[in-house]
Amino acid sequence: MDFLTLLQLLDTTVRLATPLLLACLAGLYSERAGIFDIGLEGKMLAAAFFSAAFAYSTGSVWLGLLAGVGVSLVLSGIHGLASITFRGNQLISGLAITMLAGGMTVLIAQDWFKQGGRTPQLVGAARFEPITLPFAESLQGVPFFGPLYYELISGHPILVYIAFALVPITWWVLFRTRFGLRLRAVGENPASVDTAGVSVVGLRYAAVMICGVLCGLAGAYLATALQAGFVKDMTAGRGYIALAALIFAKWRPWYALWATLLFGLFQALELRPDLIETVIGIKVQVQVLGALPYVLTVVILAGFVGKAIPPRAGGEPYVKER
């Protein structure tokens, strides 16, 4: 495998890891605040459809993005209502939201566009175009670093850079601000936060809403940047891979980056199974690569290699003592 092929593989990895990273960080905020969210998939899917639909009809990808984030926020609101206000089962709520998105997107797509549950192809300003970073063209001749900069670092849509920037931002928010400390506390021991006079309900809603915004970005990226338009079930389990990555990362932002890049690499290799064969000389079944993120997550969850311990109050509705 030559250098250029490697760069292309890594480039694909970055493009495929971006939606995983955004969804994983979304789940991170929510679960750190004690709200399990297995509805990441549904929120991404709904956002993917609405961003594509609005980008197509308005011709502006930014309005599309706004619509995607908006619908994701609505679903987050439902999840918050069910799991915070009405103290229902968070897992069932997440599942219902994923199903709701799966059905509604096709239903509305069929009603609006009549193309069998997809949106028309997005062109021009209705898509996020790749950005060529400064000097990428002119430095291309520099050995090693030139192609690295040109092929791998430059030439991605804006959402990719936003996703990667969100990693240090999330770390800073969670571990260096008062809001972050309270957010983490509310996921570990909500009673103590309540005793300190801070609203548990408010904090949890804030976390769920941040989760909604990030899922919206992830969905919009899928439909308007990675691909040009919405197709039925286009998230294809990415929400669950993000959930797996979140566990793999043990609910930490930097680890989330590495976990999603690793899972993105698996997805990239799934598209180029010939590459593995040339490098290690063994033919690896594509199904093995597809299942690997899940298998790794189960191994990590089982605690055989570095135990993953979730936030202690995760999944528990908070009831104030009377």
Partner: protein
């Protein structure tokens, strides 16, 4: 003292939830520009007014009874088995192996063999998450989700690389031998003059599903093991104090749950397609969750809810055939039912409890 009568808890709350889901679905149909009442009539006509419609309704209901019971048994032990889908996929693999590689003399023996195969494969697929939950404390919801995806990969591997007949492009096994053909409702109920259930896939597996409902009821409410499962579900520490082993109950109830989910594939694989195809489960594992929630985890409730969802599935197919309403409407209805009966349960329950308390105070005064 209970806040409201028992009948309100098991009958009124599911009905109100269903009513809310129905209203929202009607609004969705209105928004698409169709008439909800006409759509409902079309669904009833297509699913319940002809014997072939019933043949489809009961075929779907058979699947949902199995997966609904699977979820219900796990619910009794306070576990959420979201992995019915994967367990059913593996169950299909069990059915395929039993039907393809054992020369059965008669369908009745083949049915027993295939049921055992399906139940065993499904139970084994639930064993690892159960063991990890019991021994290592890994959350069973997350592990069973992961196992759904791993099951899909395993099934894909077996169908593409192992069981696919040579020179076939289709990722499916070859057709099962004739001796394993299960009698369909048409074979069983048609007379010389009138043909009943024409073209419908409902088959003898329906009666196995009915038997499973009765057996699960007996297990949960009439046996020592069932008592232990319920005790464990009510209070883990209480059960421990009574000498009930949490590891044992967790593993056994998940094995039963997985076996029930696996049995579903006897209906789809052996009864309908007569070969194993890639997407034979078609999301029935998830519908089982809606069925169990709606049926309040009681086998009789599961039976009724499974018939209801069978009706919705067949009616939805009719809608897709005759109107502009896509089949996905059923997924929406299903999601709303899960949302209202599962997650937003308190939204329905709290006002109702207040109402009953107020009524009782009035009665006392």
């Amino acid at each position: 003292m209970e806040k409201m009568p028992h009948w309100a808890d098991i009958v009124l709350i599911p009905l109100i939830s269903l009513f809310l889901a129905a209203i929202l679905s009607a609004l969705v149909i209105l928004a698409i520009g169709e008439n909800p009442w006409a759509a409902f009539k079309l669904m009833v006509d297509g699913a319940l007014m002809r014997s072939s419609g019933w043949g489809y309704t009961l075929y779907y209901a058979t699947n949902f009874m199995f997966t609904g019971l699977a979820v219900a048994v796990a619910f009794h032990a306070r576990m959420f088995n979201i992995g019915g889908e994967g367990q059913a996929m593996l169950g299909g693999l069990g059915v395929a192996y039993v039907c393809l590689f054992i020369p059965w003399p008669h369908w009745s023996l083949a049915l027993i063999g295939a049921s055992l195969g399906a139940a065993m494969f499904g139970a084994l697929w639930a064993l690892i998450p159960a063991y990890l939950q019991a021994k290592r404390g890994s959350h069973i919801v997350i592990t069973t989700i992961m196992f759904n995806f791993i099951a899909a990969a395993v099934l894909n591997y077996f169908l593409v690389n192992v069981l696919r007949p040579p020179r076939s492009m289709d990722p499916a096994t070859k057709t099962f031998p004739d001796a394993t053909h299960l009698p369909s409702f048409r074979d069983m109920f048609s007379t010389a003059e009138t043909i009943m259930f024409r073209g419908a896939p409902a088959n003898v597996t329906f009666f196995i599903a009915l038997a499973a409902c009765v057996l699960v009821w007996f297990l949960i409410w009439r046996t020592k093991l069932g008592y232990e499962i319920r005790a464990f579900g009510h209070s883990e520490s209480g059960a421990k104090y009574a000498g009930i082993s949490p590891v044992r109950i967790t593993v056994i109830s998940m094995l039963i749950s997985g076996a029930l989910a696996g049995l579903m594939s006897v209906n789809t694989t052996m009864g309908e397609s007569e070969r194993l195809v890639l997407n034979s489960t078609e999301g029935a594992g998830f519908i089982g969750i809606a069925v169990a929630l709606m049926g309040r985890s009681h086998p009789f409730g599961v039976f009724l809810a499974a018939i209801l969802f069978g009706f919705l599935y067949q009616g939805g197919a009719e809608l897709a055939l005759w109107t502009n309403i896509p089949r996905e409407l059923i997924v929406v209805i299903q999601a709303l039912v899960i949302l209202f009966t599962g997650a937003l349960d308190n939204m329905v329950r709290m006002p109702l409890e207040k109402l009953f308390l107020a009524l009782r105070k009035k009665g006392d005064a």
